[in-house]
């Protein structure tokens, strides 16, 4: 079996890619996609750890997977609300450029 560290490394790469996507993309939708990527990277890590904890007993091992389950649900809710907000904001604008949302300036 593939050791846990490899999965963690893979997860890190995906997470980094997702964060780069968040920072680099200017369209709000693309930003959201990148956030989803980051969430999934975290899920991968947790599932990998869950397998690694098998020696500590069934319940501990399944904790990881339960966590992923819940994260999934939360991600779904978050996407729904987030896209709703996006629609509300960008309904009346021409472009979905995130840089134009700079009303919280100091």
């Amino acid at each position: 079996m593939v050791p846990t560290e490899y999965y963690v490394g893979l997860s890190a790469i995906l997470f980094a890619l997702g964060s780069v996507g968040v920072l680099t993309r200017r369209s709000a939708i693309m930003l959201f996609l990148s956030v989803e990527l980051m969430l999934n990277a975290a899920n991968l890590a947790m599932v990998a750890f869950a397998r690694g904890w098998a020696a500590s007993g069934s319940k501990t091992a399944l904790d990881g997977q339960t966590a992923v389950f819940i994260v999934l649900a939360i991600a779904a809710a978050e996407v729904a609300v987030g896209l709703g907000i996006l629609v509300a904001i960008f309904r009346n604008r021409v472009s979905t450029n995130v840089d134009e949302l700079a009303e919280v300036r100091g």
Partner: protein, 640 residues
């Protein structure tokens, strides 16, 4: 009997109540109501003092009136109360008696002034403080009165405060007095250290058991002397009294002639037991007194202001009193306080009467011949002049002679130049007669040199002012008879005060020598008067004009340059330092703080760029933070 005496402790309270009434309600009262209230308060005080006098005369014992415990801290136990004995009752009589006359005089003198009620409130407060000073049973309580009279002196000197010169004179008086107060405080500390208590009677009782002539005792004596020079305007702190003439004339009469300036004499007399075992300090006291008397007398000859002559005269006469107590004859000093109160008070009130008649003129060169137009003032002034000169059978003759005799025969001064002191005092007595003749002549006799407008306005003062003059004149004549020389008959005042003060050692002179000394004093007095007569009446002042530019004349006019010296050494350096510090404060400190304030906008401007409102930049910051954390954790893991 004791209760009767104890009633006298109400006297300061009455004066205080009078002061408060005038202070709070005086402005709504019409003239002369504040004046009457104040005079009644002091008058009642006089009655109470009289009762106390007779009470103590009857029993011969001192009465103690405890008031309240002030402080109890470790070994220090201070309770405040009054100690009424022969000395304090005598002083009380002077204060309230002369004070009452001066208050009555003021009702007329201050008529029409804006600060009528304020004046009487401050005068009453002064009387209350002075009474506390002489009645106190502990040094602390005495210091309360000491400070109180200082404050009232300041207030009353600068009474017409809108004129800066008056306010400055008041400030000068207060600051110079402060130096003396410092001496008083340190003396109190030292007293407590040496004697363990601040109760005056206890200290006096313990004094004879102390080490004779020890440094600590001499230190205490010298420090109390410093305090006395401050309050009594002696060398080197005499500079404030001539400027204090800026206040109303009755103030000069009461505070700077009859009472406050004698506080120093009272202090030394009170602590006579301590001085008796500190001969070094006592000799210093005598020398300070004699030198002050001489210098002030010379200065008085050259003055042209009617009140300044009297101011220097006061300094000189108080010098006599200080010399007396320095010789160990404490009773003689107090005796002169008693007689001096009458004739000096009278001289000041007469001067006030003249100024009142001339509309405020104070330059003697613009007076003359007023004796004919102001009969009562002129006559009483003449009596006072003769008295101060030492003409026989008037009051000062007896008191001055007592002082002269004391300095000549004093045991303590024998090693410290007693003979020289006697000679100097004798010369001073002659000069006194001279300058007083000059004063009288320039003001009341001789040709008239008045301004035209003043000449028409001259009138005798109203009764409310002249009656006190007459009363004081009677006192100036008769006051000396309580102190007839001991070799002739019973010296009442010496016996009276012997219960409350120690007396030094005096060599006993033969009767013939005593008579000789008496005669000598008389001769000197007449020489002084005669010289005055010859210079002014016969020579019509020609000699004065020729001597006008000599150094001695300059020294006399400028009072030997003490003012200039103090100004250069203390005032100018002080204000220079103040200027420097102000400059430092303004340029360095203020600029620094303002500059510091400028840092904030600078920093803010830099940080403001971070708040761009750009979502991606914010997200980047978060990522950076996360990256940093992982790095740190990794490093920690590596290092472990």
């Amino acid at each position: 009997m004791n209760d009767l005496v104890a009633w006298a402790s109400l006297a300061p309270l009455l004066a205080l109540v009078g002061s408060l009434i005038n202070a709070f309600f005086g402005r709504s009262l019409k003239e002369p109501a504040p004046g009457i209230i104040a005079s009644v308060a002091v008058g009642l005080g006089f009655v109470l003092s009289l009762l106390a006098f007779f009470g103590i005369a009857g029993t011969g014992e001192a009465v103690r009136v405890g008031l309240w415990d002030f402080l109890r801290a470790g070994d220090l136990e201070l309770s405040l109360g009054f100690h009424l004995d022969q000395l304090s009752v005598l002083m009380m009589l002077i204060i309230t008696g002369v004070g009452f006359l001066i208050h009555v005089y003021s009702i007329g003198y201050m008529h029409g002034d804006d600060g009528y009620s304020r004046y009487f409130a401050q005068m009453n407060l002064f009387v209350a403080s002075m009474l506390v000073l002489v009645m106190a049973d502990s040094f602390v309580f005495m210091f309360v009165g000491w400070e109180g009279v200082g404050v009232c002196s300041f207030l009353l000197i600068g009474f017409w405060y809108k004129d800066l010169a008056n306010a400055s004179a008041g400030r000068k008086a207060f600051i110079v007095n402060r130096v003396g107060d410092f001496g008083f405080l340190v003396a109190m500390f030292l007293t407590f250290k040496v004697f363990g208590t601040l109760d005056i009677q206890t200290v006096n009782a313990m004094a004879p058991t102390m080490l004779y002539g020890s440094a600590a005792l001499t230190g205490i004596g010298l420090l109390y002397l410093l305090a006395a020079t401050g309050k009594s305007a002696q060398l080197p702190l005499q500079v404030w009294l001539p400027d204090a003439m800026a206040g109303p004339t009755p103030v000069s009469a009461l505070i700077h002639a009859a009472t406050m300036v004698t506080a120093g004499v009272y202090l030394i007399a009170r602590t006579s037991a301590v001085y008796a075992v500190a001969p070094g300090a006592l000799a210093t006291v005598a020398w300070v007194g004699v030198l002050t008397a001489l210098i002030a007398a010379i200065a008085a000859v050259g003055q042209t202001d009617i009140k300044r002559v009297l101011a220097y005269s006061t300094i000189s006469q108080v010098g006599f009193m200080i010399a007396a107590v320095g010789a160990g004859a404490y009773w003689a000093g107090i005796f002169h306080v008693f007689t001096h109160a009458f004739f000096k008070g009278l001289l000041f009130l007469a001067a006030g009467s003249v100024m009142h008649a001339l509309g405020g003129e104070q330059d003697m060169r613009k007076m003359g011949g007023l004796g004919k137009r102001m009969k009562i003032t002129g006559t009483t002034a003449l009596i006072a002049t003769l008295a101060i000169a030492g003409v026989p059978f008037l009051s000062s003759f007896f008191s001055k002679d007592a002082i002269l005799a004391a300095t000549f025969t004093s045991g303590t001064l024998a090693d410290a130049g007693g003979g020289v002191l006697y000679a100097l005092l004798l010369i001073t007595a002659g000069i006194t007669a001279l300058y007083m003749f000059r004063w009288y002549y320039l003001v009341f006799a001789g040709p008239e040199r008045l301004d035209r407008g003043a000449s028409q306005r001259v009138h005798e003062s109203p009764g409310v002012m002249t009656v006190p003059l007459v009363v004081l004149a009677i006192g100036s004549v008769l006051a000396g008879y309580v102190g007839l020389p001991a070799f002739l008959t019973d010296n009442r005042i010496m016996n009276w005060l012997s219960h409350s003060t120690t007396t030094g050692e005096f060599t006993h002179l033969g009767v013939a020598t005593e008579w000789l000394m008496l005669l000598g004093a008389v001769v000197v007095a007449f020489i002084g008067l005669g010289v005055g007569y010859w210079v002014y009446v016969v020579g019509k002042g020609a000699l004065v004009k020729r001597l006008d530019n000599t150094p001695i004349a300059g020294a006399s006019r400028g009072a030997f340059g003490f003012d200039a010296l103090y100004k250069a050494v203390f005032v100018d350096t002080g204000s220079g330092a103040a200027e420097a510090v102000t400059l430092l404060d303004r340029e360095v400190v203020d600029r620094g703080f303002v500059g510091l304030g400028g840092v904030a906008p600078l920093l803010g401007g830099l940080i403001r760029r971070w708040q761009s409102g750009n979502v991606r930049a914010y997200a980047f910051a978060m990522l950076l933070g996360a990256a940093g954390l992982t790095l740190v954790a990794a490093l920690v893991g590596v290092l472990k």
